[in-house]
């Protein structure tokens, strides 16, 4: 260690004080100070996460074995709630609806996002930057506001899109009151709102592909399709898998636009699992049952999360 007075960092006129020997004033006090720092830095985050994430995970599990309703003293009722979750026709229907929603939402959003990312990544597309900015805009719009806008556009009497479609000879009527069309409609609104997110993830994946590969393929005489088929498709495989999983996880949590537009109707055709949790927990006050259904959602998400983790580690390996 330098002991000259011109130690970097010391202000002029200030006498240089050599650093304390390793361990601070005394070995014990330095260690104590270090421990204290760790404690003080961690306490806020650990308290918040402990109280509002980790403890609720345990208490939701405990709650799911009771008949709690917010008023009476909860009694232990064993697996009754879980039995109800897997036998109640309405709940099974909400699970089926959620799967249907995911089946409509995930493939559509992945294809739309991928195609637009490919287009935006095309070196000969004019005004690329402008398009990227405009196509990103739905990302900042809430699903609730997106739902309002589409509700007006698709209004059976005064909706602009309905009016235009009628001009083309297509009659779609009141989509949000039509049991066959309500679910595709709420899924498409989510596609509109969330595709920019997945598009940016795809763009990042595309930009990770080294341009030299395309150059080499061009030298070898590969056409545009050949380059896409043999370079883009295999190298984008992991990104695609990743996007499919996170889009499916998002689909399991469908709520906002459904709450705004259909309230789960018509005839429960858009009643999803999270809508059902909201209904059971906050309207019917059947807390134990809602907690059991929450745990089913949690386990489904965790399974998808593990798949995602597996894909991510493959991505990391591919990057190395």
């Amino acid at each position: 260690m330098a002991t000259t007075a011109t130690h970097p960092g010391s202000r002029p006129g200030q006498r240089y004080v050599p650093p304390a020997p390793l361990g601070g004033r005394g070995p014990l006090s330095a260690r104590m100070r270090r421990r204290l720092t760790i404690l003080v830095f961690l306490i806020p985050a650990v308290t918040i996460l402990g109280a509002f994430v980790f403890w609720p995970m345990i208490s939701a599990l405990l709650l799911s074995f009771t008949n709690a309703n917010g008023f009476r003293v909860p009694e232990f009722i064993g697996l009754e709630n879980y039995l109800a979750v897997f036998t109640d026709e309405q709940v099974l229907r909400s699970m089926g609806n959620t799967v249907l929603y995911a089946a409509l939402f995930t493939p559509t959003v992945v294809v739309v996002a991928l195609l637009l990312a490919l287009a935006l990544n095309h070196p000969r597309l004019p005004l690329r930057g402008m398009f990227r900015t405009f196509l990103f805009i739905p990302f900042i719009v809430s699903l609730a506001v997106a739902a309002f806008a589409w509700q007006y556009l698709l209004d059976p009497q005064i909706g602009l899109v309905n009016y235009w479609l009628r001009g083309l000879g297509v009659q779609i009527g009141n989509v949000f009151q039509d049991p066959a069309l309500a679910m595709p409609a709420v899924a498409l609104i989510a596609v509109w709102k969330t595709f920019p997110f997945y598009m940016i993830v795809f763009l990042a994946g595309l930009q990770d592909i080294p341009p030299s590969l395309y150059e080499a393929a061009r030298m070898d005489g590969a056409g545009a399709w050949g380059r896409f088929r043999h370079i883009t498709v295999p190298l984008l495989g992991n990104t695609t898998g990743f996007v499919v999983v996170i889009a499916t996880i998002a689909a399991l949590q469908a709520f906002d636009q459904i709450y705004v537009l259909t309230g789960g109707g018509p005839y429960r055709s858009t009643q999803t699992v999270v809508m059902q949790i909201y209904q059971s927990g906050f309207k019917d006050l059947d807390l134990g049952f809602a907690a059991a259904l929450s745990y089913v959602l949690l386990v489904a998400t965790l399974i998808l999360g593990l798949v995602q983790f597996w894909i991510s580690s493959r991505r990391a390996e591919a990057a190395v």
Binding site: G9, P19, G24, T37, I38, A45, V46, I48, L49, F52, F54, W55, M57, S59, A60, L116, A119, H122, L125, L127, F131, T133, F134, L135, F136, I137, P138, F139, I140, V141, S142, L143, A144, V145, F148, A149, Y152, L160, Y163, F176, I200, V201, A204, F242, I246, F255, Y259, V260, L261, G263, G265, V274, I277, Y278, G281, L287, A291, S294, L297, L298
Partner: protein, 281 residues
């Protein structure tokens, strides 16, 4: 002969076709935004007119007047800023403090803590909503800013994200300061934080947008219409059945959009980065 000319022609036509397709996609994407912006300024008669219009024939501010009369809208705006801004500021602070310890100070249990954090990234907040609500209710925090903000004042994703960023910062700077006897708080405040501003802004944007736009959380944590946010408050105007005042709703939606649109204008790259980084999740 034709094969020779076809290739250059296709080379010239392809970008034009691509341009046309992307242009159509962009117009379809912007249509709902346009309908919000234009309808907000339409008189009631024109909002409900047939055939419908996109751009108003006559422009009016009536809808903006009505949204403030139909809902406690000024209060909702304040609530949205307090909630989204409060969550963002507190969680950035608490996340950064915890992330610093996890990135720079090895201690017994640090690996377990990190594993627990990564594990909890996969828990959707909807899954713990019931017990969190009960806890907030037991604390007497329903219909309060504390109830809206406290449960989100730290989040595992933010800690994990900032830890990864802090790890990527060169250690030379802070070890030099440490040898000079600077306290950890000092190193954190004057060396690590200033170098982490891009990451902090990215995470801040991510948190602000998510909370500003969230519906389920304010819906559950507040029952008093004056304690909701713009997003949750506006849903009171609609619902299945009933006449929907579209003009008023669009005026409210436009106000809901405006702060994020302004933020986006200035921090576009941070928004894009926030998407790319949440890919880490």
């Amino acid at each position: 002969m034709s094969a020779v000319t076809a290739a250059p022609l296709r080379r010239r036509l392809a970008p034009a076709a691509l341009f046309a397709v992307v242009l159509v996609a962009t117009l379809v994407t912007l249509l709902p935004i346009a309908i919000v912006v234009f309808t907000a300024f339409k008189p009631v008669a024109e909002v409900n007119a047939f055939p419908p219009t996109l751009v108003p024939d006559a422009w009016t501010l009536d809808n903006f007047g009505r949204i403030f009369r139909d809902l406690p809208f000024a209060r909702l705006i304040v609530n949205s800023f307090v909630f989204a801004g409060g969550v963002t500021l507190l969680s950035l602070t608490f996340d950064a403090l915890a992330a610093y310890v996890l990135a720079r100070m090895d201690f017994r249990g640090s690996r377990i803590l990190l594993f627990a954090l990564i594990g909890s990234l996969m828990i959707p907040f909807q899954a713990t909503l019931i017990p969190v609500y009960q806890l907030v209710a037991d604390l007497g925090w329903i219909n309060s800013y504390a109830g809206l903000i406290a449960p989100r004042a730290a989040d595992a994703f933010g800690i994990f994200f900032l830890r990864q960023f802090f790890l990527s910062l060169p250690r030379d700077l802070d070890s030099a300061a440490r040898v000079d006897g600077a306290s950890e708080l000092r190193i954190f405040r004057s060396i690590v934080l200033p170098n982490a501003i891009p990451a902090l802004v990215t995470l801040g944007v991510y948190n602000f947008v998510n909370n500003w736009n969230d519906l389920l959380w304010p819906l559950v944590m507040t029952t008093d219409p004056a304690m909701g946010t713009i997003t949750s408050g506006l849903t009171a105007l609609t619902g299945p059945g009933g006449i929907i005042p579209f003009g008023v709703m669009m005026a409210g939606s436009l106000i809901a959009l405006l702060p994020l649109a302004i933020l986006f204008l200035f921090l576009q790259r941070r928004f894009v980065a926030s998407v790319a980084t949440s890919g880490l999740k």
